[in-house]
């Protein structure tokens, strides 16, 4: 049953997944080519000076990519499900509603998490050839909130889509904007530091909110 449900999610999202992967590859290719060009034309010494003394961050182009990926996957999974009323069929499947929703949201979260880790790993491997350990740590602390924004957006879009009333939906959208804003307070290198770990707790904290939307959908709340 679990595999069948995951297959359904895969069928629904496969083109979006492909799009996200291609966009991720294109973005990394562009970033690496741009940095490679800087290495060649400006020289490593100058680049190091810019990074260390002027606190410039070389991977700023990644900033909104995870967010866009999370939004796209969330929309692909949940908007048609609700608009075309298929959510009723899904909740009628002989599984507990909690498990069904957990599998649907979990599918998207794990997919994004896997892809994000791979994306970060590519950047880390590339950086490790040119930069010291301290730079890589600072890179991770800088980009971690952006990737967490992607995970947050995905689970909060599930919550927003399944919510049956517009009033609460708008409220949820505002909560989502506010929550995601926490991940974009600054892009100063390494500024988040240990706070990135606290953001990870927020990502886990918002996950069960979707169950509340399902509960409201089930009791037939209306505007």
């Amino acid at each position: 049953m679990n595999r069948a449900l995951l297959f359904k999610e895969y069928k629904k999202t496969k083109w979006f997944i492909l799009g996200i992967i291609l966009a991720g590859i294109a973005l990394h290719t562009y970033t690496f080519l741009k940095l490679g060009r800087s290495f060649r034309f400006a020289g490593m010494e100058h680049l190091w000076d810019v990074i260390i003394n002027r606190d410039q961050f070389m991977f700023r182009d990644l900033k909104y990519f995870p967010l866009a990926a999370g939004v796209c996957l969330g929309v692909a999974q949940f908007v048609p499900e609700v608009i075309q009323k298929r959510i009723k069929l899904t909740l009628h499947l002989p599984l507990s509603e909690r498990k069904t929703i957990m599998l649907m949201v979990g599918y998207g979260q794990l997919l994004l998490l896997g892809f994000f880790l791979l994306h970060i790993l590519c950047a880390v491997v590339f950086s490790s050839f040119h930069f010291p350990y301290e730079f890589i740590l600072s890179f991770l602390q800088t980009v971690a909130p952006w990737y967490m924004a992607g995970l947050l957006a995905h689970s909060m879009i599930a919550m927003i889509c399944i919510e049956p009333t517009w009033k609460v939906r708008v409220f949820n959208i505002l909560v989502m904007i506010g929550t995601i804003k926490m991940c974009y307070i600054t892009d100063f290198p390494g500024a988040y530091g240990i706070v990135s770990c606290l953001l990870a707790i927020v990502v886990l904290y918002v996950l069960p909110f979707t169950f509340y939307s399902v509960y409201r959908f089930k009791i037939g709340e209306q505007d």
Binding site: K8, K85, R86, L89, H92, G220
Partner: protein, 294 residues
């Protein structure tokens, strides 16, 4: 024996608008119950409550003895659901959707599904989203038949179907339900189709149930009478006569009384009638007779 579906004292409002109060009905095992009503009388509301997608203001609905808002997976396995508009996972093709559902139902009857699909003359790889409404209805029905549920809940199955597909749907469903002793709860706005399918009818009007009876009993006893009457305006005060209409001195009423009973009743009230004609009704005419033309 416990009924398959039991709705007790259901009351529901949308805001201040009363949909119905204290609605009670049961569906015994092996019966096909049709819920008939005009638009806005609460058919879909009832289906939503039954499926657990709406909490009534008061009262409760039980399916297989469990509260409909909180069905266990084992009970959901026994309920086949057709959503208004034959909604399905349209991004799958007919073989993918069959494989998908087969994982959830232990008594899956693949051959029942493909028997219906063979009638469609479509490629196995064709996506459901690219099918016509009629073809989609057959896919939805095929999936329910393959699921082999004990209870089928079908919301407005005839919506968007041409007469051929409607007849095919009714024939398959009727044959399946009757031969395998299934319980069916069905709504449709095309009452001609219901006449060929249902055993019992539940007729709703705004705010209440007008009647719940076996269809045979209704069609045997409920009749239309045409006559000329000297004071047609008083007929609406008789609770035995439904929806009296007089046009050019010719009066038409519907009633569960027999002709002699009706004559006796009017004579008792000092009314004289002339040329009484009794007419047998179809289910559609009986429905109009009970709920009025508008």
């Amino acid at each position: 024996m416990q009924p398959i579906v039991e709705c007790k004292d259901l009351t529901h409002y949308y805001g201040n608008r009363c949909i119905y109060e204290n609605l009670n009905f049961t569906i015994p095992k092996g019966r096909i119950l049709g819920l008939l009503g005009k638009n806005g009388t609460g058919k879909t509301t009832t289906i939503n409550i039954l499926n657990g997608y709406l909490k009534p203001r008061s009262g409760e609905c039980l399916m297989f003895g469990e509260k409909s808002g909180n069905l266990s997976p084992a009970t959901k396995q026994k309920v086949g659901l057709l959503i208004e508009g034959h909604v399905q996972y349209a991004f799958m093709n007919i073989s993918e959707i069959e494989r998908f559902y087969s994982a959830f139902y232990p008594n899956w009857r693949k051959e029942a599904y493909y028997e219906l699909m063979d009638l469609l003359k479509i490629a196995p790889k064709q996506k459901i989203s690219r099918m016509s409404c009629g073809q989609r209805s057959q896919v939805a029905l095929g999936l329910i038949l393959a699921q082999d549920p004990e209870l089928l809940i079908l919301d407005d199955f005839s919506m968007g179907l041409d007469p051929g597909y409607r007849m095919l749907f009714v024939d398959y469903l009727s044959e399946y339900a009757k031969s395998r002793g299934k319980t069916v709860f069905v709504t449709s706005h095309i009452i001609q189709d219901m006449e060929r399918l249902i055993d019992d009818c539940l007729i709703m009007d705004y705010g209440s149930i007008v009647l719940q009876k076996p269809v045979d009993e209704l069609l045997t006893n409920f009749q239309r009478y045409r006559f000329k009457c000297d004071k047609p305006e008083v007929l609406k005060d008789f609770k035995e006569m439904k929806n009296p209409v007089t046009i050019n001195g010719n009066t038409e009423v519907y009633s569960l009384c027999s002709g002699p009973e009706l004559q006796a009743l009017m004579k008792q009230q000092g009314l004289s009638i002339d040329g009484l004609k009794e007419e047998r009704l179809s289910l559609e005419e009986a429905f109009i007779g009970l709920t009025g033309k508008y």
